[in-house]
Subunit: 209 residues, 4 copies
C-alpha cells in the first residue's frame, strides 16, 4: 500500500538524507547548505555530489525519505478490522510517539510542507503522504459516525482537516511536550466522539498513553 522510495537508500545516501533532515529541522530550507550536509556526513562536497547530483535531487531524496519514514510508522501497527474508536486512538498515539521519538522529523516535515507550495518536486513527493493520512482519518471518522461512536453530525472531510490541523499546529505552540499533547488529544477526542452515547468510548479514557 505504501509507495516506496524508488531507489532504496544505500549507506551514503541514507546518511546524506539523515544529515539533510536534521539540518532542515535546525535551520529550515532557507539555511540549508550542501557544504554543511557534507560536513555533517564527514565527506567532501564533491563526494556529496557524487552520490546526489544536485541540490534539487537532494531535496527530493529528503522528501521521499521522510515520506517513507512517516508512512512506515502508520503501517507498523495493523489497523484492519478494528473499530473506528480504537483506530482514532491509535492515530493519536502514533502522532504522540513520533513527537516523542522523532521530533526532528516533525519539524523537517513542517518545513517540507511549506516548501511544497512552491516546489513541484517536493509537492509530488509529499502529496501521497498527505493524501494517505487525510484519507485514513476521513475513513475512520466516517465509519465512527456511522456506527454511532462519533458525533452523528460529523462531516468526515472537514473533521479530518480539523484533526490534522490540530495535531500539526500543536508543536508550534507547545513543542514536543507529551503532557501538553495529551491535553490537546483529549480535547480533540471530546470534539469528535458522540456525546449522547451511553457506553464509554473504550476501556481507558483520555488523557493517557
Amino acid at each position: 500500500m505504501s509507495i516506496p522510495c524508488p531507489e532504496p537508500l544505500t549507506g551514503r545516501r541514507r546518511e546524506i538524507a539523515a544529515a539533510a533532515r536534521s539540518l532542515v529541522a535546525e535551520r529550515g530550507f532557507e539555511g540549508l547548505r550542501t557544504r554543511d550536509i557534507a560536513d555533517r556526513v564527514g565527506i567532501n562536497i564533491a563526494t556529496l555530489h557524487y552520490h546526489v547530483p544536485t541540490k534539487e535531487a537532494l531535496i527530493e531524496l529528503l522528501a521521499l525519505s521522510m515520506r517513507d519514514d512517516f508512512m512506515a510508522q502508520n503501517i507498523a501497527r495493523p489497523r484492519e478490522g478494528r473499530p473506528p474508536v480504537e483506530r482514532l486512538r491509535m492515530e493519536l498515539d502514533d502522532f504522540r510517539e513520533t513527537l516523542e521519538t522523532d521530533y526532528e522529523l516533525m519539524l523537517a516535515l513542517a518545513e517540507l510542507i511549506e516548501r511544497a507550495r512552491r516546489d513541484e518536486n517536493v509537492a509530488a513527493a509529499i502529496r501521497p503522504m498527505q493524501k494517505h493520512w487525510r484519507t485514513q482519518i476521513e475513513t475512520i471518522l466516517a465509519e465512527g459516525r456511522d456506527d454511532g461512536s462519533f458525533r452523528t453530525d460529523l462531516d468526515p472531510e472537514a473533521a479530518a482537516i480539523m484533526v490534522i490541523g490540530t495535531l500539526t499546529t500543536f508543536p508550534r505552540f507547545e513543542g514536543p511536550n507529551p503532557k501538553a499533547f495529551d491535553r490537546i488529544a483529549a480535547e480533540l477526542w471530546r470534539a469528535i466522539i458522540n456525546p449522547g452515547r451511553d457506553d464509554p468510548p473504550g476501556p481507558q479514557i483520555l488523557p493517557g498513553t
Copy 2:
C-alpha cells in the same frame, strides 16, 4: 491594547514592507531577495538600504507591519459585551474575510511563523500577535463553556489550539476557497457548541455538510 509599530511606516517604508510581503507570499523567505523588493518598489537597491539598513531590519519591519495589519482586523469590530457565541462567530467571520480579501497576508504569515522558530527577532515581533489571538479565543471559549453555550467539558486552552490549528491549516489543503472554509467552520462550530442546549446557538446557523 494594540502594540504599535515603534517606527511609523512612512511612505517608502510602507511600500517596501508591502513589496516584501507579497514577495514572501510568492516565494517564501528562501527566495526573498532585497533586489527584487527594490525592483518591485521601483527604486535602487542602494535606496532600499537607505530606508531599511539591513535585510534583518527589513524582515523585522515586515513582521511588525503584518502583525499590525492582522491585529487591526481584530480590533476593527468591537466585541466587548457581546455573548461568546456571537464572538466566536465573529472570529470565524474575520478569518474568512481575511482569507478572501488578503490571502497574501495569510500566506506570508505562514512563512513568518515558520521562520520565527529560528529567528528571535521575528519571534519577538510575531509572538504578541499569536498570544493576542490565542488569548482572545481562549477567553471566548471559557466564557462560552461557563454560560452553557459551548460544551461543558471544553478545555479552553486546548480548544483554542484546535481552533487556530484548524483555521490556519485549512488553506494548505483547500487554498482560499470560501465555500470550503464554511464547511470547516461549520464543523469547528459543531465541535464546540453545547449539543445538549435547547435553544439554537444563534440567529444564523452556519451552513452544514
Copy 3:
C-alpha cells in the same frame, strides 16, 4: 553599411572586452576565466558580473567588439570608384597592417572562428563580418576578371576563399612576420592577375608596402 554593436561600449565594458580579447589571444577560449578578466581590468569578479551578466554575454560582447574593430579597418579607407587591382592591393595592405599593429586581434579572431562552429551566438556575431569580407573580395575579383586585370578564368567565389584561406592560414606558419607576409601576398597576387596582360598591374609591383 556596417552593423554596429547594439550597445556602444562604455568605459568599463570596453575595458572588459579588451581584457577578454588579449586573454583569448593568449590562452584561447579553453583557458578563458572570468576571474582573470576581472583581474586584468583591475576589478572584482562581482563587478565584472555587474557590467556583463554572464560568461556567454561576455563572449558575445567580445565577438561584437572584434567584429566592429575588424570591419572598421576595412571601412577606414574609401574604396569606391577605384579599379579592382588597386582595391585588391588595399585589401592585402589592410591585412598586413592588422598583422603588424594588432596581431592580438588576429589571434583572438582565429579562436572566435573556431568557436563559432559550436556557439550559435558567436556565429551570429561573426557571420556578418565573414560575409562582408568574403563578398568584398568576391566583388573585387569579379570586377577585376571582367575588366581584364585578373585571370579571365577566375572563379570569384572560389578564389575569394583562396585569398581568405591564404591570408588567415599564413600567421599559423609564420606568425606576424611582415617580410614573410609580403612573399605570400606576392604569390597570391601572381595567382590572380592576368598573366597575358601587357601593361603592368599597377605602378609598384609587389612585394613592398
Copy 4:
C-alpha cells in the same frame, strides 16, 4: 619516412584515442571531458586513467594518433617517380577523400592546430605532420615549376601555404561538401598551372565553374 607512434596503440588506447577524437570534433578542446571519453568507450574513468595517466598524455596520444592517420593516407598511394602535375592532382584527391570519408578527422585536426599554439606537447606531435605536408607540397610545386607544368614565377614556399590555407579554410565556409570542394580545387589548379603551356595539364581536367 613515417614517424611512428612510439607506443603502439593497443586495443583500449586505440578506442580511447578514437573516442577523444570524435569528442574533440564535436565539442572542441574546450568541451573535452575525460569522463565523456570514458563513457563513450564504455569504461570507468579510473580505468581510463589506468590506460592514459593524465589528460595531457591523452591529448598527446590523440595528437599522435591523428598525425599517424593523416600521414598514412598520404603514404598509401606511392607518388615516387610520377610527374608533379599528377602528384598535385593526387594531393588534392587525397584531401577530397579525407573530407568525404573522415570529416571528423579534419575537424579535430583544426582544433588540434589551434591548440598547438599554446601547448608545446601538442605542437611537438603535430609539427612533423605539418612539416611533412608542407615540404611535400613545396617539392611538388618546385619540380612542377622547373619542368614547366606550373607557373614559371611560382614561389614554391609561398604557394605551399596558399594551397594548404585554401584547402584547410574551405571546410569552414562550405563544410565537407564535395561539389564545392571541386570548385575550389579547380581554382587552385588554375592558379598554379602554367597558363602558357600548350599541352593540357593532364588527361582528366577538373570541373570548372
